[in-house]
């Protein structure tokens, strides 16, 4: 299998800038290489989907973008990732600020065991915002954007654990939106949800891409096809193919990609 070669954009003529650019990025945990020479450009205000068999390194790639992998002592990286021309692995990088700029939503909803209000306010409080009025407006705004406001506006002080799974996931999205990130990373955000909640989340993603750059990991091919503009296919830590979703699903350039999306993939 030859990795994806060209360092050009899938759609060179488009009007949007490159938000994140990944160049020759390698990552290993201890002696085990997980990501191998990844080259990928993420275009602003679009949805990019990462697909691939489980264990191929999708989450790891996503977590490299906000440096969450740094938590593991075994993690070693090489190569560059630039966010708006700023090297995020540069020693001068303020990681907390980076993570504020790149929000993340995890596979399982992970609200804090606090009230709904405090969950959304958390990131703002960290940023030193104390004024009740500013918090109130920001929270309403974030919850509205996450399509949750109407459901919870009367019980902002109840514990977040009392929400349903789908609501919790939207709460987590609202929490991420509240700190006004530029990029939103979604790691299989709907895999633990029922179909209705999944639908809501998908609608939300389509809605949000006007203001944010979104990268979503999913192993649900239909979902990728529905929500994303670009799709990257990863296999065993190697980026096999990256292109417009439409084109990748209808006319994959690589045999491996075709096998995977048609379900003929054997692990």
């Amino acid at each position: 299998m030859t990795p994806y070669q060209p360092r050009t954009l899938p759609d060179p003529g488009q009007a949007f800038p490159i938000k994140l650019s990944i160049r020759d990025f390698n990552l290993s945990f201890g002696q085990t290489p997980i990501l191998k020479s990844i080259d990928l450009d993420v275009i602003a205000n679009h949805v990019t989907a990462l697909i691939g068999p489980s264990g191929c390194g999708k989450s790891t790639l996503l977590r490299s973008l906000n440096r969450l992998n740094d938590l593991s002592t075994e993690c070693r990286v090489s190569g560059q990732i630039h966010l708006d021309n700023q090297d995020i692995y540069a020693p001068s990088m303020n990681i907390a600020d980076l993570r504020r700029r790149i929000g993340m939503v995890f596979q399982l909803p992970n609200p804090f065991p606090k009230s709904i209000y405090e969950n959304v306010a958390y990131g703002l409080r960290i940023q030193g915002i104390r004024s009740r009025r500013r918090l109130d407006t920001a929270i309403e705004h974030a919850l509205t954007r996450a399509a949750l406001w109407d459901e919870v506006k009367d019980r902002l002080n109840t514990n977040a654990y009392e929400l349903s799974g789908g609501q919790q996931q939207r709460l987590v999205i609202a929490r991420a939106l509240a700190v006004e990130p530029e990029v939103l990373l979604l790691d299989e955000p709907a895999s633990a949800l029922d179909p209705i909640s999944t639908l809501k989340i998908e609608e939300l993603i389509t809605e949000l891409k006007h203001n944010y750059t979104i990268i979503i990991v999913t192993h649900n091919m239909q979902q990728a096809a529905r929500v994303s503009d670009y799709t990257a296919y990863l296999h065993q830590g190697t980026l096999i193919e990256y292109g417009e979703t439409q084109q990748l699903f209808t006319n994959p350039r690589k045999r491996a990609t075709e096998n995977y999306i048609t379900g003929r993939f054997v692990e």
């Binding site: 938590l71 993570r99 929000g103």
Partner: protein
């Protein structure tokens, strides 16, 4: 037979037996202490006994409370009486056998009373002087009523078992009971009151009368001050081990040090406390701040603060281990959620992780307090004494006197049981003190166990699929 051998039945029975024996031993121990300790406050019946000594046929008389009785090897009964003398000239307790006792009558007017100077008296009332001119001797069952209605300036004349008569002012009498007339409920009330008094009064007459309040207070205040020291350091050390330290030889060393702090004999801490805290640290403090009162030491001598510091060192591993367990139980996802929002490591810790760990920290603290409350050996070296003249907390500036010597429940037990001469008289108090200490510790441990179980349940719920 073969099957019996290969099935290991003998071993299974032996191991089950080992468990039963262990549990049985604990049950016997605690039950024994409870019965012995509580029976002291039970208003036992009073008897008027005519008896003779083993080797002397002449008749004697006593008025005393029958504390307990048992059968001897010969099948006769043996009774233990508590009697009292105004000027305790001879022993308070006496064992008598059936053969020694001529008559033993339980009359309703026999009473116990608590006198301001004589302490507890067991006697027969004979005369009540209501005013300088009128005296009465009511019928036996009317005594309680008559005394209750008498004026405060009335006088009561008593006859003690040894024939001594005693006239007392009613104002000097703190309490009167007629155990032979009490109903079961009233006995319970007297019992409860006695128990309460035991907890709130100071010891009198070398610990054989009164209560143990200063010891209880000393125990509580030392462990409270100990928590002030041990909590921040223990919690932060656990945080370091679990959140900061990368696996390597440093972490390994710290872990081994924690194990060692936990396993080092407490007497070693006591000696270190005496040599380092008291003599070196306290001595330096004296030279710097209290030089005007030297050579009389202020902090350079055993005292409250050194007891608490020594206990803090001793219980540090308990807090560390428990906190670390709590930290380990917090799901990774919650931390990552916070970090992903741009919170720094310490902010996550402070705002998310530590609040969630609070029950575990509390568990650790409670266990530490339980351990500290039961320690005695190190404390005798660094500031616990048999009788402290003042409480460490009073209305005088600076209110909390960290340099004072204190009393302690555990040491009180040791002291009463082994250093006091009148063993018969002090033993009931030892038992009650022991019971109180055990109950305190069991209560603390139970609450820690419950807290820990609640904690477990809570996180199990979290892990349920949504």
């Amino acid at each position: 037979m073969n099957r019996w051998l290969s099935g290991g039945h003998a071993w299974i029975w032996l191991s089950a037996g080992a468990l039963s024996v262990s549990l049985l031993l604990v049950a016997i121990l605690i039950g024994f202490i409870a019965v012995k300790g509580l029976s002291h406050f039970w208003p036992a019946p009073i008897f008027d006994v005519h008896y003779h000594e083993q080797d002397d046929p002449s008749m004697q008389r006593l008025i005393g409370q029958r504390i307990s009785y048992q059968s001897t090897d010969q099948g006769t009964q043996e009774y233990l009486f508590r009697r009292s003398e105004a000027q305790a000239a001879y022993q308070d307790f006496i064992w008598l056998t059936d053969a020694q006792i001529n008559t033993m009558t339980q009359r309703p007017e026999l009473m116990t009373l608590e006198h301001r100077t004589f302490g507890r008296l067991i006697a027969e009332p004979i005369l009540l002087r209501l005013s300088p001119t009128s005296t009465i001797t009511p019928p036996p069952v009317d005594w309680p009523e008559q005394i209750k209605t008498a004026q405060k300036d009335a006088q009561l004349t008593l006859l003690l078992g040894n024939g001594e008569a005693l006239t007392l002012n009613l104002v000097d009498i703190l309490e009167i009971h007629f155990p032979n007339q009490l109903s079961w409920v009233e006995k319970m009330q007297v019992f409860g009151k006695g128990l309460l008094q035991f907890m709130v009064e100071s010891p009198r007459q070398g610990g054989t009368e009164g209560g143990i309040f200063p010891a209880l207070f000393g125990t509580v205040i030392t462990v409270l001050i100990m928590t002030v020291f041990v909590t921040p350091i223990g919690v932060m050390a656990a945080v370091y081990l679990h959140e900061y330290a990368r696996p390597g030889w440093i972490t390994q060393t710290i872990r081994i040090a924690v194990y060692n702090l936990a396993g080092t004999p407490s007497i070693v801490f006591g000696v270190f406390g005496l040599a380092f805290f008291v003599y070196t640290l306290g001595g330096s403090i004296d030279q710097l701040f209290y030089s005007e009162s030297l050579p009389m030491p202020t902090f350079g001598t055993p005292g409250l603060i050194w007891v608490s510091l020594t206990l803090a060192l001793l219980t540090l591993p308990v807090v560390i281990v428990s906190t670390e367990e709590g930290l380990a139980r917090i799901p990774k996802s919650v931390r990552e959620g916070s970090l992903a929002l741009g919170a720094s490591h310490t902010e996550t810790l402070w705002r998310i992780v530590l609040p969630l760990t609070t029950p575990a920290i509390l568990t650790g603290l409670i266990l530490a307090i339980a351990r500290a409350a039961g320690e005695v050996a190190p404390l005798m070296l660094v500031g616990v004494v048999k009788l402290a003249p003042e409480l460490p907390l009073d209305a005088e500036f600076p209110f909390l006197h960290l340099d004072r010597k204190i009393m302690h429940l555990g040491y009180h037990i040791f002291d009463l049981a082994f250093q006091t001469g009148r063993t018969d008289a002090s033993l009931p108090f030892v038992f009650t003190t022991a019971l109180l200490l055990i109950l305190l510790i069991i209560l603390l441990n139970l609450s820690a166990i419950l807290l820990r179980n609640r904690l477990r349940v809570r996180f199990q719920d979290d892990k349920k699929p949504i």
